[in-house]
Amino acid sequence: MVVSCEEVWREISNYLEGEVDASLRASMEEHFRGCKHCTAVLDGTRNLVQLYGDERMFEVPLGFSHRLHRRLEENMPGHRRSFLGWMVAAAAAVLVAGSFEVARSSVFGRPELRSDHAQPGIGVPPDMLVVVSVDGKTFHAAGCPFIHDKAHIQTIQAREALRQGYAPCVRCMKKYLTA
C-alpha cells in the first residue's frame, strides 16, 4: 500500500504512539525512506515530545514548594499555631474588629476581595503608593514581575487599593499577608 504525504501527516502522531496497524506502519516506513520532508516532520515531532516530556520542563516559581506546604500545614486537622502565628492571628482579630467598626461607621463597608483565594493584608501603610492593574486582583510594589496586564496599570494609595478589594501580592507584598 502506498501512502501520500497527507496521509502520513494525519497518522504521524498515532505512529509515534505505536497505534497504527502493521500494514500502515510498513507503508509509512516505506514512505519515510523516500521522503525527506516527512522524515523531517517525524524526527522533529519525536524530538520535541522527548524534550517536553523531560522532568526539567516542570519548573516551578522560586519558593513554590515552601508556600504550598505552608498552606497545607495551615489546613491540616489539629494544626497548632506557633507563638508567632498566634500573635499574627491576634493582630488580625484586632484589625478585623477595627475594620468592622470603620465599616459600620461608613456608608460603604469594605468591599469583597476581588479574589476568593487571596488573603487580606495586615498593617499595610495606607499612604504607601502601590501599583494595580484595572482588571487585576492584587496590588504590587512598582516593578514587581507579577503585575498582570501591564498595559493598564495605575499607581494609587494603598488605602484606595484596599477599598477597591485588591489584596497584597504574595511575592512583593508578602510581609503584609496574614500567613
Binding site: Y15, D43, N47, G53, M57, L68, R71
Partner: protein, 218 residues
Amino acid sequence: MPEEVTSLEHPAKPFNEEMLIQRIRDGEHDLFYELIRPYEGRVYAAAFAILRNEADAEDVAQEAVLKAFKHIRQFRAEARFSTWLTQITINEARMWRRKEHANLMEPIVDRQDEEGNYTPRDFADWREIPLETLERKEIRQKLAEALASLGEKYREIFVLRDMQHLSIEETAKALGISTASVKTRLLRARLMLRDLLAPGFGGSWSSKPLFAKGTKPW
C-alpha cells in the same frame, strides 16, 4: 531513514502510593506531603497550561492540592493518584478562569475546525536536540513560550499527554472529551509546536526571536 519505532515510553509510578494513601486516610496526615511531593511540578504545569499566568497558576495549584487532601477518602484506587490530582487541578483552573475572566473572548485559534487536516509548514531537517540542552534556561523558555502560544484545547492535551504522561484514555477522562478528540488535538498540537520550533531547532535561536510576541504562524 527513520529509527525503528517507537511507542513513546512513559515512566511508571515511583513508589507504593496505595499504602501511603491508606495511611493518610487512617490519620497520618503528615504523609500527604510525601504523597504530593513528586507531583508538585505537574500540578503547577497543569494549572499554568490553562491560565498562562504564574501567580494564578500557583494559587490554583495550592487550591487543587488542598482539595485533594480534603477529599482523599473519595479517591478510588482504580485511577492513578496523579490522574485524579490532575483532574482536580484542571477543574479548579477552569473554574478560576470562568470566575476571573468570564468576559474574555475565546481565542480564535480555539475555534478552528479541528477536523480539517493540518499541513506542516516547515520541512527543514532539524538536527536532533539532545535532552542535555534543557539545562539551558533559554531553551526551556523557548519551549514554554511556544507551548503557551497554542490555543487552550491544544495546550491542555499536550500538557496532559506529553508532559504529564497520562494515557490517551486518562487524558480524555480528565478533560471530559472522547479519545478520538484527544488524538486529533494531540496531532495538531504536536505539528503546530514543531512548526513553531523548527526554525530555532535549525540553529537560529541565538540570533533572533522564535516568533513575534502575540502572533501565531497558523
